[in-house]
Amino acid sequence: MSSGSGVGGAASLASPSRGVQAGRLIERPIVLRLVSIALFAAIWQVAGLIPVSFAFPTFSDTMVAFVRMIADGSLPTAYISTLQPLILGVILATFAGVGVGTLCGLSRPGEWLLIPVFIVLQAAPVAAFIPLVTFIYGIGMTAKTLAVIILALPVIVLNTYKAVRNVNESLLVMNRSFMGTRWQEVTKIVLPDASPVIFAGLRLGVAAGFVGVVLAELLITPTGIGDLITFARSRANYAGMYATIASVIALSTVTLVALQWIEIRVFRPEKRGG
């Protein structure tokens, strides 16, 4: 019953729902999506009725708790506290990550200097640094934002770098033959060509950002969503706990789908529809 069990629960719930959203959601008709969600809810309901564990509520109990927590304001308040560092961290990590990744992909010295750092960061269990961040920056907004950035940045940098390095060579030659400048090369060829892999990195980065902020709140700064989960568990209010966890997963999923929508709308219009 350490705080670890709460995290484990979140992670194991996250994987099936993330599998559902990945890619296919956008192409399939809405009906299939609803069926898939309904099926998931039904399995949850049955598992809760058996029950799998005394600490595992049914789907309907969870939904009731969810509505109650919205009504009494505890969930919205928690989200205001959690979303601020999350959004700020994700935005900073996106711009810094895509920027640094692009520079490393374009210049050899940048590559040699910075890429090893991010490879190590990605390999390391970065979550272990979070208590360190708190030690230095306290338990406020800064620490939470940093936690988000630490988790999100490496994968964004590395994906961007990889995509930029593997840009279609023949398009670069074409750009040169029509006298495109270096700046035009980057903005009109390299970034659009790299955008699918960059966006794959952004999706992983955003998901990691969610992990970062919740971890920070569970481990160190008892505020926001993390605090709500801890608080609900301490009072054996499992329905409330699961409602909170499920809401994070739902929000994370919606964010990732929105990101995919932006990618296709703005950067790769040829992938629309077909």
């Binding site: 023949s170 033959s177 029509f178 006298m179 009109k188 955008s195 790769r268 219009p269 077909g274």
Partner: protein, 267 residues
Amino acid sequence: MHAAIVRNDAVPTNVVSDAIVEVRGISKTYSGVEALRDVDLDFPRGKLTSLLGPSGCGKTTLLKIIAGLIGADRGTVAVNGKKVSAPGPERAFVFQDFALLPWATVLRNVAFGLELRGTAKEEREAIARRYVVDVGLAGFEDKYPHELSGGMRQRVGLARALCVDADVLLLDEPFSAVDEQNRRKFQEDLIRLRTNQNKTFIFVTHSIEEAVYISDRIVLLSPRPGRVSRIIEPEIDRSGDPDRIHRDKHYLDTVQEIWQGLKQYVE
């Protein structure tokens, strides 16, 4: 037999009087591989010249040096009398692998050369629309490259090169990734385009038939290191029915003659 092919009994030479592109003493060695050795060659204005030769003889290398995409170790290239060492507005390249932006529509791809030059959107799209029609792609303006066949994609590449209004068009095996039927149709269209565009074409090809069918002038290169081995000017009347040309005696004789010349290299 030779005299029948070359007008006025004159053997065509490397140097011509009204040359738009002048290649002088070009040599190129890639890390130990000597691709071109001391190539002197003129390309007459307003004509279609083909570079023909065995695989690996340096055709692409020569074309890219003329385009300014790679540098030569020695020698110079002059276009309109001015020495060039980088891409310029008077030359446009058509790529073997099309090099189209997959995320851009046909219209944007065709206008891309102008987009890079900073031409206003409305103006460049108006110009691009004209060339889209010229190359036979009317109605496909808003399609993406992956929705087109290989032949259509290369038409986009050709329209993009025409759009920037260069004097010289450089085409590197533009039909090699296009199926046979489309290739024939495309060759006919190229002959037609050439008569009303008044541009100079420099065309790399593997195919003797293709070279004889479309060229005013054929430059045969020797195997590596590439040098000019012979120049042939097929005198073929292309005004009539395209199918008639393929049965024309001149045409068949010239193909045969070139094949005799090249055969030694393959054996």
